[in-house]
């Protein structure tokens, strides 16, 4: 989808309030538009339609990040997703690697790295 040069619309879906609000506030400080949700099931299609990139969590209480990312792709086949995780295994990395639209970002997350990744994936969409 078309967008102004460096302003992103980012959907942040993370069930941990502090991390979610921290990511959102940092992105907003950088001038991006952020829609944040605690529960992946609450994300409206309109948010995904407007998004340049999605940031979510690998392990969430209701739906795991991979399942959510697959649903995102069902809605928008060109939308890429960053999954953050505090714990990872080679199996998880393989699972993510099998989906070119996904990137894994390890917690604690360096905001600049996350920001760069969001831009990279948004540019690719």
């Amino acid at each position: 989808m078309s967008r102004p040069c460096s302003t992103l619309t980012v959907v942040v879906v993370v069930d941990d309030a502090s991390f979610r609000s921290g990511v959102a506030a940092n992105l907003e400080d950088d001038g991006h538009v952020v829609h944040q949700y605690e529960d992946p099931r609450d994300v409206p299609a309109s948010s995904l339609d407007a998004a340049h990139v999605v940031i979510s969590d690998y392990q969430m209480a209701e739906i795991d990040g991979i399942t959510f990312a697959d649903r995102v792709r069902t809605r928008r086949a060109d939308l890429n997703v960053v999954l953050t995780t505090a714990y990872w295994t080679p199996e998880m990395e393989a699972e993510v690697a099998a989906r070119p639209f996904l990137r894994l970002c390890r917690k604690p997350v360096d905001y600049d790295e996350l920001h760069g990744l969001a831009h990279e994936l948004a540019d690719a969409c």
Partner: protein, 377 residues
Amino acid sequence: MNDDRTVHALRVLQLNEARWQAILDTAQDAIICIDRTGDVTLFNRAAERIFGYGADEVLGRNVRMLMPSPYQDEHDEYLASYHATGTPKAIGRVREVQARRKDGEVFPIELSVSEARVGDQVIYSAFIRDVSERRTMENALGEARRLAEQRERLADIGAITARIVHDLGNPLAGLSMQAQLIHRRVTRDPERPARDLGGAAERIVSEVRRLDGLVKDFLDFARQQRLEVRTIPLPPFLQRLVDLWEPVAAARDIELTLDVPSDCTELTGDEDKLRRVLDNLVKNAVEAIDHGPGHVAVRAHRADERIRVTVSDDGPGVPETVEMFKLFETTKRGGSGLGLSISKQIVLAHGGNIAVERLQPHGTAIHVDLPTRVAAV
């Protein structure tokens, strides 16, 4: 006439001989007879098969040739000791010992020995079963079991590690992101008003508390429960619990009731730890209903030398698939799954028990059974 008797007696003897030979030949176990000095007098076909010797190689030789050390070195002494004292070591029981084949292989056998005397002659008969295949299978089974247990332990350690990393990593990630927010704002605008940083600072403090709580929970779970036992007057103890939670419950339109019969006067235990258990149960019950109308009941009941405290709710209930006291098992969003595991440890340390009952049509009751008298731990 005498000749007839002799012929008849000979036939009987021949028949008996043939019968015994047939039995000896078809027996699956080795049958070996020795005389008083240990020389082999009988070596059946199964013995030939098991030991690898032909009977002609063994008959008349000492049975020690079929034994490995130390049995080989001690056998003469056994026989001498038995002849001198009459106290048997092997006769009349089944023992598992080792034997040696012709090719030198030492293998496990089950050995039973009987004794027969005719006049001053003595015959020792050994019945020998080769159990090497069974032992190999048992060893393989034992090894497979050991490996399975090892794998299970490693899987448990893996699951626990994953959970700890996840549970500690999430607040750490939140804390880090809020700290980066403050740092970036201050770097970008050193004059930025403090109120713009207050929310992030508040979240950092909150995350540190969360981390601290988690670390304490893990420590509580890991360390042995040491009890400071004293007498606890039950009615005021439970009343304080209900008083603590009553405002929270009322705010959610949940009725919280207490029922302590007059025979439930006191119990002994660690008051702080038992309060923690019951506090956790009432909290879970209130959170299970979430928003009322609903009812949480705390009831005490005495049976012999035990007191049962039940905390029940009429919430949606817990699925059968959920093992409530299993480490990390939780149905609550953001729950650590440690609370009920720790509660169970505390109750078990009191010599008590904790159990879940799924109520019909819906709801959950947790029964805490405690002895009225607990020894100090």
